[in-house]
Amino acid sequence: MIVIINGDFLFFENLIHMSIHRPKSIYRALVLLLCLISAPVYAQLNIEIFGGGASRIPIAIVPFADENKLQQSITPVISADLQRTGLFKLVDPAGLSPHAPVEVVYADWANRGANALVIGRVVPISGDQVEIQFRLMDVAKKSQLTGLAITVPTAQLRMAAHRIADVIYEALTGDVGVFSTRIAYVLKRGNKYALQVADADGYNAQSIIEYSEPIISPAWSPDGSQLAYVSFENKKPIVYVQKLATRERRAVASFKGSNSAPAWSPDGKKLAVVLAGQGGSQIFLVNADGSGLQRLSRSSGIDTEPNFSPDGRFLLFTSDRGGSPQIYRMPVTATESSNAERLTFEGSYNVSPDFSQDGKSFTFIHRNNGQFNVAVQEIGSRQVQILTNSKFDESPSFAPNGKMILYATEINGHGILSAVSRDGQTRQHLSVQTGDIREPAWGPLPTWK
């Protein structure tokens, strides 16, 4: 089910690109000091930031007028969204509380090092509807950069906040925002397994289906309306596709032996799956309705974890044909696995590839000294960057704008969700509930984007 905001877009003004004035080196000490001073305020977000903050956009977000009367305040959600990307540094607004442009004293904000300022108010409309008005101000130019008014039911305040965070992110970075997207993952609680869908920050979780047997490998259809996944409810792995709106589901791969690792083609018409019934674990294509089975890989080893390139022409996959599990790429039309090209060479264990949306890089799990970490490789240069230093990371999944990666990791023996910025400088644990979370998959952009 896609959450719809009844949005009234009122005053979209002068959407201009603001030139962000990054702090020069002489300001760095001051920036660091401000960062330390403001740290306790945001400590509950559990965001770890590594490296200098020099390249982050300093932004001040003033709590909106009357937002404390709502059951869910707006600006803490916006702040957490922006901070999680690693591209923003929050400037403490303490002591200042403008809510309209005439109340802004730009010099105050310039003195605090803020380049951008977010102000706004909440206006009750009727019943359970509220209007949220917000403005993004350019501190250097002393003018409004963009603004928006959204009317929402109070049950969708978080979604409205995510939408505002998207507008801010897009105005300041020129990139598409992904805060209004959703994620899927598996939650294990006791002996129960739930396939859940939540907002990109881990809140508003809903169970799509629950079993007493394991579920793995959820995969979003490109339009976000369906999830493919593997269920063990029949004592062996079988691939199902389920519609989120109706909960209607069908088995698309239920052949003799194991059926697993579903991946959608970008047009949503086909799924790559891994079948073991014909010897070994090999990659096949099947229509989304379960018909038209066609073998794709043909090796004597393990071929698994297929993932389509955004243009649908290639598959990344994991294979041990060279002796250890490594990531390969092959044309989707290939019927001979000799067309596959090995992409990873560092280390003896590289698995779970996921393409970035521009098709130029992929994220994967790299084993090093017994640790399993999230890494990114550029396809052109083959340059590898390891982004985490935890022990048991798994299932990395690119945000649809390629700027963040969602993955599962383990803390104190429990599986939790985590997000890391593409540059590895910012990490955040997203888990907001008890139980073991695993197998996250970042959903596509909403259809209105």
Binding site: P214, N234, K236, A251, G257, S258, E305, F372, E439
Partner: protein, 172 residues
């Protein structure tokens, strides 16, 4: 030989009798939906074939059902060879008996890659069994990957118990 013949006759008869009272053990055809394949692998009941007593005799090697592996390995170690071959001979001599082989792995690394590794473990047992005279139709090899650990925790003693193939007789 006469004894064996007697057993297989009983097996055939009881297999027929159980058809009406028990659900199909598993639907292996493409497109089988949820619930169409009964998953009652452990359900026994009154219609059980008599050979189950032989399988369950604690003094028989046939009562042993698990094959364990080294890390990142799928070859059946020599100490489990006799166990696998005994089950293969049993399948050869009991045409109506069938097994599902469930491969398992420890929980380090990718779940899907572990699923494939578990499949390879189950396949290695299947291959040894078919070479020893069991028929393909009597065996389905599948993988549970790291999803159904016998032991929990991140220690070699837990991991070594989870790197295994289990032999489950259908209807037992």
């Amino acid at each position: 030989m006469r004894k064996l013949l007697g057993i297989s006759l009983i097996v055939l008869l009881s297999a027929c009798a159980s058809q009406t009272t028990q659900p199909e053990v598993e639907d292996l055809t493409a497109g089988a939906g949820a619930g169409s394949g009964g998953s009652d692998l452990m359900g026994s009941g009154s219609g059980s074939p008599s050979y189950f007593s032989q399988l369950q005799d604690p003094n028989s090697i046939l009562s042993k059902r698990s094959v364990y592996y080294d890390y990142d390995s799928y070859s059946v170690k020599s100490e489990y060879r006799e166990l696998v071959l005994s089950h293969a001979r049993f399948l050869r001599d009991n045409a109506s008996a069938s097994v599902i082989l469930q491969g398992n792995t420890d929980d380090r690394g990718s779940r899907e890659y572990n699923l494939a590794l578990g499949q390879r473990r189950a396949d290695s047992v299947r291959n040894m069994m078919t070479l020893a005279g069991a028929r393909d139709e009597q065996i389905e090899s599948v993988s549970l990957g790291e999803e159904k650990p016998r032991a929990l925790g991140h220690s070699e003693s837990a991991w070594s118990q989870n790197r295994r193939t289990d032999i489950l007789y259908r209807g037992e």
